[in-house]
């Protein structure tokens, strides 16, 4: 599992680095693109297999954000229809959004900007 995690995360970063170096896309384009690709792979049923194959190697990537959005939204739809889709979509990825907001607020209050 360690080797798979290392190789998978490494290869995704390698591909993204090659795209970043050879096109005019910014890191913002790449991370958004990887998130969308994560959602598409989840749609195709591949991302679950990737997680069981590479473990943390697949979940540390930003693509996992798209995967969590898709799978939580779909689970919500199956549970309680279209309202469940809207209310459940941020369920499992909420941990990333909420923690990033809370931590960055606290640290911004405590620390000063450096050049």
């Amino acid at each position: 599992m360690f080797i798979q995690a290392f190789l998978f995360a490494g290869i995704v970063c390698l591909i993204c680095q090659i795209i970043l170096d050879n096109t005019k896309l910014t890191p913002g384009h790449i991370t958004s693109g990887v998130t969308v690709i994560g959602a598409i792979l989840s749609f195709l049923g591949i991302y679950d297999k990737l997680v069981s194959f590479a473990g943390a190697g697949a979940t540390v990537l930003i693509a996992n954000f798209g995967h969590m959005l898709y799978s939580a939204g779909l689970a919500g739809y199956e549970e309680s229809g279209i309202l469940g889709l809207f209310s459940n979509m941020l369920c499992s990825s909420g941990i990333a959004i909420v923690s990033v907001v809370v931590f960055s607020f606290i640290f911004t209050m405590v620390f000063k900007a450096r050049d």
Binding site: M1, F2, A5, F6, A9, G10, I11, V12, C13, L14, C16, Q17, L20, D21, P27, G28, I30, T31, S32, T35, V36, G38, A39, I40, F43, V51, A54, G55, A56, G57, T59, V60, L61, I62, N64, F65, G66, L69, Y70, G73, L74, Y77, L85, M89, L90, S93, I95, A96, I97, S99, V100, F103, S104, F105, F107, T108, F111, K112, A113, R114
Partner: protein
């Protein structure tokens, strides 16, 4: 000197990115994050008896805490310039973009500075993630019921 000559001169003089080296560094750093993540997962499962799914959530939490803190004390920016995609593509890049936007706009005040700009960079990830997931779910439901 006409425009074309000038552009050629700029192209010649601007420093060349060491593409191969960048790619190898991104591979090693990104891979290491996956490797360390797997180690943290095993540690959490063994010592706290968490399920694998819960451990993934804690891992995201730990990575975000780490990246936010390192950005706040000013270390992470240098690391990102060196490792590039190795640190941008994992969740650390998401935390880094939010934290650095918040720090950069702190001088503009709480609401107009931090509040208005905190998702300046990470907003596109959230927007396109949610929109694409939404439409993919609609497609899935329409196709397979």
């Amino acid at each position: 000197m006409n425009k074309k000559e000038y552009q050629e001169l700029v192209k010649e003089l601007s420093p060349k990115e060491p593409k191969l080296r960048n790619a190898i560094v991104a591979f090693l750093i990104g891979g290491s994050i996956g490797f360390i993540g797997e180690a943290i997962i095993l540690f959490l499962m063994k010592s706290f008896g968490l399920s694998r799914v819960d451990s993934y959530a804690w891992l995201a939490f730990i990575l975000i805490l780490f990246a936010s803190f390192m950005t706040a004390i000013g270390k992470f920016d240098n690391w990102v310039t060196k490792a590039k995609c190795g640190l941008i593509i994992p969740t650390t890049g998401f935390a880094h973009s939010v934290q650095s936007a918040a720090l950069d706009y702190k001088k503009d005040g709480l609401v107009t500075g931090i509040g208005a700009n905190v998702f300046k960079l990470a907003g596109s990830v959230i927007l396109f993630g949610i929109v694409s997931a939404f439409f993919l779910i609609l497609i899935k439901v329409a196709l397979y019921g």
